[in-house]
Structures are given as structure tokens and as C-alpha cells.
């Protein structure tokens, strides 16, 4: 478990990093941020880099900020940033906190990054799920200049994205959430800290007891996380109750095209789809404020 030889470059400006990547990408230069996936893959020699371009010396890429109605997460933002529920404005901060604590283990969260997670694009990536569910925008930079990709266009198959090899993911923009948002997240895995076998994030805008807008994202089931419009449609205009939750779960189970592997059948993942969506929606419902007492 020793990586094959590579050169190491630590740029001090983003422009320099982009130029260096342009020069080396064809040969196999790779960008490294937190390294929590890339380094083990290199040690196992399932990933090879001729050169590692390390972003960690770059300023200003580690602290999220609010810009207009967007929450901007620069690429080096560590997962652990969201151990603080106030890292983002409410209610988004609580959502990001609630999701972050399911990412791997504490030491990994200290080092792993938001941008790295999106670039690695594991089907079970929590941040890919958040970005897909909220229709975030991914900002890229190459030697030719910046480019943006909408979350729905990010995946290019399993563990693959539409990022070009000479592009650096610089930041992700998520929408700030209105105060009438209810959200719920549920992740299923065999052990604490494992990659999700299935997970769901729901973000609902409520008008009283009624759902006026619904986002339901599903991860770990298909080859990349995405919104499930059939499940969302089953909720809009409905009260958030057992019947609508059941309808959303059923719709999702019919809509998905689950992965299958030697450990886990497509049927198991289809059943799990219903379970994680139901539990995420129930978590959202449990966050609903108690009905105002009538005088």
C-alpha cells in the first residue's frame, strides 16, 4: 500500500493551480484537497497521479459565506465546518449540520472537503445529495476562465462528473432556505460512519399544514444522488401525513433504477428507497412546530 511515484506541487494562487493543471492534466495530474478518498485509492494503486496539485495552501477557499440569496461553500470547506449549526443561516445551517454528522468519522470530517466530495462523486456522497436536492450550482475554474454547472448536470455516470480534467472545482452555491422550510434526513448503513446503502433528504416549504413545494433527494440507491420528482409530486398540495408520506415513498420506489451488486440486490435497494424516504419525511414532520393553541 505505497503509492506509485508522483510529483507534488503546492500552488499559492488559484490561477497558478489552474495553469499547472492545464499543463499536466493530459498526463494524469490530479487535484488534491482533503485526500480522504484519493490518498487511500493511490495507496491501493487503484488511482494513479503523475502529479498532485495540492490546493491546501490557497487562501480564501475554506470559509463559507452568504452572497445575496446564496450560501457559498468554497472547495476547501471541511465537513467539520458544519459541526457548528450556525455555519450557515437557519434553517440551512441545521440541515447541513444534520447531514454532516453522517459523513464518515470525526477525524475524516476534520480533513475531508466539500469540493473533494463533489468531485469524487461517490453515489453515497452526502454533499452530492445536498447539492442535488437543493439544485446547487457548481463553480469551476480552468486556465480558460470560470464555468458553472447546475447540480442536475453534474453527474456523468457512477463516480464520474462533467468536470473536465483541467478544471478545478472552486465553490458550490446553495440557495438559502425560507423560514417555512421543514427538512428531514435519513441515512441507512450497516455500521455508524459507513457509506450509505440508502439515504434521503427532503426539503419542504409549508403553508400551514400543507406542502407547497417539495424537494426529495435520494442517494446511495442509484449511481448518483438526484431529486425524485415523482415523490415530490405526491406531496405538493397535500398535508404532511401518513398517507402523503406513503404515497411519496411508493412513487419513489417505482421511479428508481437501483444499482445492483453482489452484496445488495436491486430489490433490497428499492425497498430501502421507500424506507429512507418515509423516515426522512417523518423526521421533517417531527420538526413541524406544534399547532398554535386555540384561545
Amino acid at each position: 500500500m505505497k503509492p506509485a511515484p508522483f510529483t507534488y506541487y503546492r500552488p499559492t494562487s488559484l490561477g497558478d493551480a489552474a495553469q499547472r493543471l492545464r499543463d499536466g492534466a493530459d498526463e494524469g495530474a490530479l487535484v488534491i484537497a482533503g485526500g480522504q478518498s484519493l490518498v487511500p485509492m493511490m495507496a491501493l494503486r487503484v488511482a494513479y497521479a503523475t502529479e498532485l496539485i495540492d490546493l491546501n495552501a490557497l487562501d480564501g477557499l475554506g470559509t463559507p459565506r452568504v452572497e445575496g440569496d446564496s450560501f457559498v461553500i468554497p472547495t476547501l470547506t471541511r465537513h467539520a465546518t458544519f459541526h457548528d449549526t450556525e455555519a450557515a443561516p437557519a434553517p440551512l445551517g441545521a440541515l447541513l449540520h444534520g447531514v454532516a454528522e453522517h459523513i464518515a468519522h470525526y477525524p475524516i470530517r476534520q480533513r475531508g472537503t466539500f469540493g473533494g466530495s463533489l468531485s469524487h462523486a461517490d453515489p453515497s456522497s452526502e454533499w452530492c445529495l445536498v447539492t442535488a436536492t437543493l439544485d446547487g450550482t457548481i463553480h469551476l475554474l480552468s486556465a480558460d476562465g470560470p464555468r458553472t454547472v447546475e447540480a442536475a448536470d453534474w453527474s456523468d455516470g457512477p463516480m464520474s462528473t462533467t468536470r473536465e480534467p483541467d478544471e478545478i472545482l472552486t465553490e458550490v452555491h446553495l440557495p438559502l432556505l425560507p423560514g417555512n422550510t421543514l427538512w428531514g434526513f435519513y441515512e441507512f448503513n450497516r455500521r455508524a460512519g459507513d457509506f450509505a446503502l440508502g439515504m434521503a433528504l427532503c426539503v419542504l416549504e409549508m403553508d400551514g399544514d400543507s406542502v407547497v413545494a417539495a424537494r426529495i433527494g435520494l442517494g446511495g440507491i442509484e449511481d448518483h444522488p438526484r431529486r425524485i420528482p415523482e415523490a415530490e409530486d405526491a406531496l405538493v398540495g397535500q398535508p404532511l401525513d401518513a398517507a402523503s408520506i406513503g404515497a411519496a415513498a411508493s412513487a419513489a420506489m417505482q421511479a428508481v433504477d437501483p444499482m445492483e451488486d453482489t452484496t445488495t440486490s436491486a430489490g433490497y435497494r428499492r425497498d430501502l428507497t421507500g424506507t429512507v424516504i418515509t423516515r426522512a419525511l417523518e423526521a421533517a414532520r417531527n420538526r413541524a412546530p406544534a399547532p398554535a393553541e386555540t384561545a
Partner: protein, 790 residues
């Protein structure tokens, strides 16, 4: 937390308590300071000047003929000193196994590098020696073995056997054991219960992977090897034989070890190859296994399929058991030979009286990583099988499962109970036990009635909660022999040299407690030297829960001799009768005069040139042997409270209790630690861990993302009750071993609890109970129940 300190032995109330009464006390471990302060020395910490690094090239194919291995590119690479394939090994023999009376395994031993064929993914086919580990791995990556996959791999022990080699079957032998007339018993039985059960392939997975550092002293013609522990003397003797050396030219040294669990410390191809390279290349050679290699190269264990039938009378009494077992040995016979299969049928019956028994174990080679012993070998498997059977009989007859066990237990007044069978070539004679008594204590300890009420209440509220119990008999104290040399040094410290080994289990402390208690010294004055073949001529290592029994008793005997020598010398020096000398706390005191001498002063008087020594043998020291033909049989019960998420199929251990009779507890805290640690491995095997292979024999579990080890988050609260109601009559202290008790009953208890949680008797038929398995099994069970067949 209970007070785990054993009551002191009866004392004369007129005397103050002995300072040196250590046996039975939860004293602090002696060996922990280096381990917790980062000053331990593991083989990975050791380096020698001019050392080379080895990297093994492994087969990517499960089976096939080797048509060529291209090493030319590797040989050209910078820093590469040598690259070997099997033809470079000359007449180096295959790796031997520990011979038993079982015959027919000779053709199946593993060569150090594959010869002609590969037989599992991960099999060593070549080895690279280079100046550093990076260069070695770079070069190894360029070595390609061309493999002609001429036959399909055999991946199921029940499959039709094939050829291991031309004319040599993959089914080398079937072991049989039994007694009585089972056919007659089945003919007259009121009930016949049959189960088809399976245990998945899993293993010890020590935190420290394997490693070896070998050095050859050309001038003195001496070979030193650090790393391969567990059986240092056996390993030394085999290495000497393989290299044509005298045992006195080979020394094995045991560094700190990050877990062994039976799988680490055996002789593997890599140990032999680094030694051979050190001799041939005349430079020290180091090899450290990486985790991916470990998952496809180190011994695996447990995978067996059992077809078991019981004949039972109308009152639920066992009349006969018939068992057919298929043991998946993997690709080669390793150092244990057929021990696991042998024990599986030899020890299957556990605590129950079974009038007739017929068992056959089909030992089969497959295209998987070879198997051997892993902590509680055969007992984890056979306890699962036997206790599933008892639960099934209870379900069939409607008799309460605990009552059923009571009706079938061997009674304490039947002890010693001769099973009229052997296991590990030792007659199985249950030495002592009060099985009914322990069951009652275990019920009270966990509050079984209240637990069942709680589980039923939670089920009524929609949770799937269940309670399961498994009863088991362990075995420990495997002989044949152990030797100890105990010496009081001039500074008063006590050196105890043993040929046993330490795998971190606390043997230094247990041995020191026995020595200090017997001799009348401070246990902290003891230094226990182990695992070094240069320091003692004989030793049988650390395995089979044997060290406290075997080394413990040899230590007690040596300490007794030293104590008498010390009293006699002290009596002469203090002008007192030897009977009047009492030794405690490292000081010998004359009861009448009150005059005293320290053990150091007595040792000084016995110095070879001391004028006070007279005609006495020099030195305050003694050697003692302990020989033991019979194992002893501790026993216990596991009780699990589980919660099943019926929608996902995931099982969580909520709470857990283990009651265990250890005969005599030398150090209750260490025993509790052994048992709780064992449970972690047991729950891994019951719920999480499995080496899986695809239909081409490619291993699917070679990282910790695919092979799931339990973490602290999966461990339940575990309460341990240590009992001492049945001391072993086979050794004066009455001790039995405790290294495996936490593992043994866990698969069975957890399976039983899952049945209960889902209110489906007999649901679990295989381990591990993964969520995917459980969901599929529930569907199968319910479909069969709808048809009336489950």
C-alpha cells in the same frame, strides 16, 4: 460494575492478610505501560542496517495453470536486488503442518511460491527484494503471471469435488466420530428435527497485520527472525528443517504483537521467504503485510455447512444426534491440518447428554484463501449449530427452551464425563461443571424474566425486540507440556522465563500473579520473558486458552521449589527451623525471632561464590515442567437482547450478558476484558464480517469498506459474571482458560434473539445475519409458512 475480586482464600483470623495474595485480584496489568505510552516495539518498528524490503506478487486468478511469469522489467528497475519465482526456490519444501493421526493431507501443503498452478486469489507467485518498500512495490507491479484458467474454481464445500492436482481430489478426507446406535434412536424417536445451517467465512483481522524481519549472521551461521509468534519453538524447528539447519542455529523473537486471535504467528510463505532471502542475499530482509494483502493471504476461518438432525423423545430428551459437516478449507492445508473440522464434530455436543451420536466432517479444498483456526475455532460454529437445534426442538415440542436444556444437561455428579470421543487427539472428558447451576445464575444475573417481559412489551408497541440465550462448553488448557524457569535475581527481581507467547492477552500479569502469590513476593517484581527461543529450550506458545493453565501451573511449581529453597537458606542464615520461616512481600521472616531477610539477600547468599551457600545448589532458581494430556472444559451462557429494524433488516445489540465459569479466576478484570473483547469479534461474525467471493473466486472483501468490523458504536453494554463453582481437578489452582468465552456463544445467542424479535422460530439459519440476508430470509420464511412447511 460489580466487584469482580474473588473472595480471598480462607485465612487464619489471628494473622494479618498476606501481602502477596494476588491470585483472584484484579491487579493492574504489567504489560500496559509500553503499549499505552507508545514505547512498544512491534516488528514494523524494527529496522536493521542494510536491510532489504520484500514485496509479494500475488495471483489475480482463483485457479489456473501458470504458463509464464515475466520478471524482466522488475529486474531492471532501480533499487531492485532480486526477483524470485518458484523455480528460484530450489528444493525448498512446502510449508509443513502439525502432524496428527489424521492421514491423507500430505499432497495439499502450500509451496512458498506457487508451483505450476495458482489456487486462490492472493497466492504468492513471485517476490521482489528492493532497497525500500516503495521501490519493491513499484517493481512488483510490473511482474505479470500468465495464467491459463483451465478449470472453473470450486467455491462451495458441498460442490462436486474436482482435482487439486492430477489424480488428487479436492476431497482429501472425511473425519468420522460417534458412538451408540443412532439408527435405532431415530427409528423410535417421538420427534426428529433437522436443520441445514451455515456459517460464513471470517477471521481474526488483528489490528497489526503480519510482518517479519530476518537476519542471517554469515560468520556464526545463525538465523534470527522477528515477527512470527504464537508457536515460536515449533516455528523455529520447522524453519531449521526447511533450511537444513540445526535448531540451535535459528532463533525466533517475539516483539509486541497487535493481536493474534489464532491466525497471526503461524508459519506463512512470507516468513520463510524473508528468511531464505536473508541467507541468500546476505542482508537483513523485512516484510510488512498491507491490509489488502492480509484480507486475501492471512488465514481465514469458520466457513462450514452443517446438516444436523436430532432424535428426541416425547419429553424432549435427546436420543441421538446425526451431523454432516462440510468444511471449506480453501486452497491449501495450512499449519493446523484438519483441526477445525476435527474439533467441530468432536466438541459439538457441548453440555448435553446424547446417548447416540454419528458425525462426519467432509474436509474440502476450494479456490479460496486457506483456512485455519480463529479464536474459538469450531466452538463458535458448533455452538451456533447445536443451540439452533435445541431452540428448534423447543419450538417443535412446545417445551420451554431453558427447561429443555435443563432436561438434557449432563449433571454435575456425572463429572468427570467421558464423551468417548477425541478432539485435538485428546480424549474429551468433561472435567467438572455445574451446568444447571450456571444456567440459574445466568438467568438471575440478566434478570431473564424481566427481560422477556420488557421485550414482549416493546414488541406490543411495534418494536422488534427479542431475547436469545446460548449455552456453551469451551475447552482450554491444551497441553502437552510447558516449562518455566524462575530465578530470583541479585536485585530481588524475579525473572520468569517461559516458552509460551503473549499476544497481548495479559499473560505476563497472570503468570506474575501466580509466581508472586506462591513465592510470597510483589507481583510487580516479576519480569516475564516469553516468546524468545534463545532463552528457553521448549515452549508451546499462546493458543487454545492454554497459557494461564499450562504456564501458570509450571510457574506455580517452579515458585514452590524456589520458595522452599529460600526458606531453607533463610532458616540457616537466621538460625531458625525452615518451618518457622514465612515469606511474604518479598521478605522471609522467622516467626519466633521476627528476624528477616529479603529474597535478594537470600539470593546473594546462594550466589555460586558465596561462602554461606555451603553445599547448596547455586542460585535461587528452579525449573519446572507441567505435562497435561487432557484439556479442561469451562462453560457458560450468552444472553442477548436485540432490536431488529424489520424494514431494513438491520440488527442492533441492545444489551448483552455473559456468565462464565472459569474454575478459578486469577485476574477477574483481565478475564472480563478477554470476554468483552471476544464478544466484539463474536458479534462481528454474527452480524457483520464475511469474506465473500464472486463466482470466479475473486475476493470481494479486501478492504475495511467491504469487510465490516464492529466498532465501538456497534458494541452493546455487556455485563460479565465470572463464576468459580467448578474448579478444574486437573490442576492444583483449578484454573480454566477464558480467552475464547466471549466469542463462543455469541452467534447462537444473537440468532436466537433475532428469531424472538421477529417472532419466527428457526428464522436464522446462517451467519452473519446481514440486513440483506435477513430481509430475504423473512420473505422466504413467510412464503414457506404460508405453504405450511416452515
Amino acid at each position: 460494575m460489580q466487584d469482580q475480586t474473588t473472595p480471598p482464600l480462607p485465612q487464619d483470623h489471628n494473622k494479618p492478610p498476606r501481602k502477596s495474595a494476588y491470585i483472584g485480584r484484579a491487579v493492574t496489568r504489567l504489560e500496559d505501560r509500553p503499549l499505552v505510552s507508545g514505547t512498544g516495539r512491534f516488528v514494523g518498528d524494527m529496522d536493521m542496517p542494510h536491510q532489504l524490503w520484500a514485496r509479494v506478487v500475488r495471483s489475480a486468478h482463483a485457479t489456473g495453470r501458470i504458463t509464464g511469469i515475466d520478471i524482466s522489467e522488475a529486474l531492471e528497475m532501480p533499487g531492485v536486488v532480486a526477483v524470485w519465482t518458484s523455480k528460484d526456490l530450489g528444493d525448498l519444501p512446502d510449508i509443513p503442518f502439525r502432524a496428527t493421526r489424521i492421514e491423507g493431507l500430505g499432497p495439499y501443503t502450500q509451496p512458498c511460491l506457487a508451483k505450476g498452478r495458482v489456487r486462490y486469489v492472493g497466492e504468492p507467485v513471485a517476490i521482489v527484494f528492493a532497497e525500500d518498500p516503495y521501490l519493491a512495490e513499484d517493481a512488483a507491479e510490473t511482474v505479470f503471471a500468465d495464467i491459463d484458467e483451465d478449470v472453473d474454481p470450486i467455491l462451495d464445500a458441498r460442490a462436486e469435488p474436482g482435482e487439486f492436482a492430477p489424480g488428487i481430489s479436492t476431497a482429501p478426507l472425511t473425519l468420522t466420530k460417534g458412538y451408540g446406535d443412532t439408527e435405532a434412536a431415530f427409528a423410535e424417536a417421538a420427534h426428529v428435527v433437522e436443520l441445514d445451517l451455515a456459517i460464513g467465512r471470517h477471521s481474526g483481522i488483528p489490528m497489526e497485520t503480519r510482518g517479519a524481519l530476518a537476519a542471517w549472521d554469515k560468520g556464526r551461521e545463525r538465523l534470527d527472525l522477528w515477527g512470527a509468534t504464537k508457536r515460536p519453538h515449533w516455528n523455529r524447528d520447522r524453519l531449521a528443517e526447511m533450511f537444513g539447519l540445526s535448531p540451535s542455529q535459528v532463533a525466533l523473537h517475539e516483539p509486541h504483537v497487535g493481536g493474534g486471535f489464532g491466525i497471526r504467528g503461524e508459519l506463512y510463505p512470507e516468513d520463510i521467504l524473508v528468511c531464505l532471502a536473508a541467507m541468500r542475499l546476505e542482508r537483513p530482509v523485512k516484510w510488512i503485510e498491507d491490509r489488502r494483502e492480509h484480507m486475501m493471504a492471512a488465514n481465514q476461518s469458520r466457513e462450514q455447512q452443517h446438516l444436523i438432525r436430532a432424535a428426541v423423545d416425547a419429553e424432549g430428551r435427546l436420543l441421538a444426534i446425526d451431523e454432516t459437516l462440510h468444511h471449506d478449507q480453501g486452497a491449501y492445508v495450512r499449519t493446523h491440518g484438519a483441526r477445525v473440522a476435527d474439533m467441530s464434530i468432536g466438541l459439538l455436543l457441548g453440555p448435553y447428554r446424547v446417548p447416540a451420536y454419528a458425525a462426519r466432517a467432509h474436509y474440502r479444498l476450494t479456490a479460496k484463501t486457506p483456512a485455519a483456526t480463529y479464536r474459538a475455532p469450531s466452538r463458535f460454529e458448533s455452538t451456533f449449530v447445536r443451540e439452533r437445534l435445541i431452540d428448534a426442538i423447543a419450538a417443535r415440542t412446545g417445551i420451554d427452551a431453558l427447561e429443555l436444556r435443563r432436561r438434557n444437561f449432563i449433571a454435575s455428579d456425572e463429572m468427570p464425563f467421558d464423551r468417548q470421543m477425541t478432539a485435538l487427539e485428546s480424549d474429551v472428558i468433561l472435567d467438572s461443571g455445574d451446568y444447571v447451576g450456571l444456567l440459574g445464575k445466568a438467568e438471575a444475573f440478566c434478570g431473564l424474566d424481566a427481560l422477556r417481559t420488557e421485550a414482549a412489551g416493546r414488541r406490543a408497541r411495534g418494536e422488534c425486540v427479542g431475547v436469545g440465550l446460548a449455552y456453551f462448553v469451551e475447552k482450554s488448557g491444551l497441553g502437552p507440556s510447558e516449562l518455566v524457569r524462575l530465578t530470583v535475581q541479585p536485585d530481588g527481581s524475579i525473572e520468569i522465563v517461559t516458552g509460551a507467547a503473549s499476544l497481548g492477552q495479559g499473560m505476563e500479569t497472570a503468570v506474575a500473579q501466580i509466581a508472586a502469590d506462591t513465592l510470597g513476593a510483589d507481583y510487580r517484581a516479576c519480569r516475564v520473558i516469553h516468546g524468545d527461543t534463545d532463552r528457553i529450550a521448549h515452549g508451546w506458545g499462546a493458543h487454545a486458552s492454554r497459557v494461564t493453565v499450562m504456564t501458570g501451573e509450571a510457574t506455580r511449581r517452579a515458585a514452590e521449589t524456589v520458595r522452599e529453597k529460600a526458606r531453607e537458606m533463610a532458616a540457616a542464615l537466621l538460625d531458625c527451623a525452615p518451618e518457622g520461616i514465612e515469606i511474604d512481600g518479598g521478605v522471609a521472616t522467622c516467626r519466633t525471632s521476627g528476624a528477616s531477610l529479603t529474597l535478594a539477600e537470600i539470593a546473594a547468599a546462594l550466589d555460586p561464590v558465596s561462602p554461606r551457600r555451603g553445599d547448596r545448589e547455586p542460585g535461587l532458581a528452579a525449573e519446572a515442567w507441567y505435562h497435561n494430556k487432557h484439556m479442561n472444559y469451562p462453560y457458560g451462557a450468552h444472553i442477548a437482547l436485540v432490536v431488529v429494524d424489520a424494514e431494513t433488516g438491520r440488527t442492533k445489540l441492545d444489551r448483552y450478558w455473559i456468565s462464565y465459569d472459569v474454575g478459578r479466576a486469577v485476574n477477574p478484570a483481565m478475564i472480563e476484558g478477554q470476554i468483552v473483547g471476544g464478544l466484539a469479534q463474536g458479534l462481528g461474525g454474527a452480524l457483520l464480517e464475511e469474506f465473500r467471493f464472486d463466482d470466479q473466486g475473486q475476493p470481494l472483501s479486501v478492504t475495511f469498506a467491504d469487510y465490516l468490523m464492529p466498532t465501538s458504536a456497534e458494541m452493546p453494554d455487556c455485563q460479565v459474571q465470572i463464576l468459580q463453582d467448578a474448579p478444574s481437578p486437573l490442576n492444583p489452582l483449578g484454573v480454566k482458560g477464558s480467552g475464547e468465552a466471549g466469542v463462543t456463544g455469541s452467534g447462537a445467542a444473537i440468532a436466537s434473539a433475532i428469531d424472538d424479535a421477529l417472532q419466527r422460530p428457526g428464522l436464522v439459519t446462517r451467519l452473519p445475519v446481514t440486513p440483506q440476508y435477513l430481509k430475504a430470509r423473512i420473505a422466504e420464511y413467510d412464503a414457506a409458512r404460508a405453504e405450511g412447511s416452515e
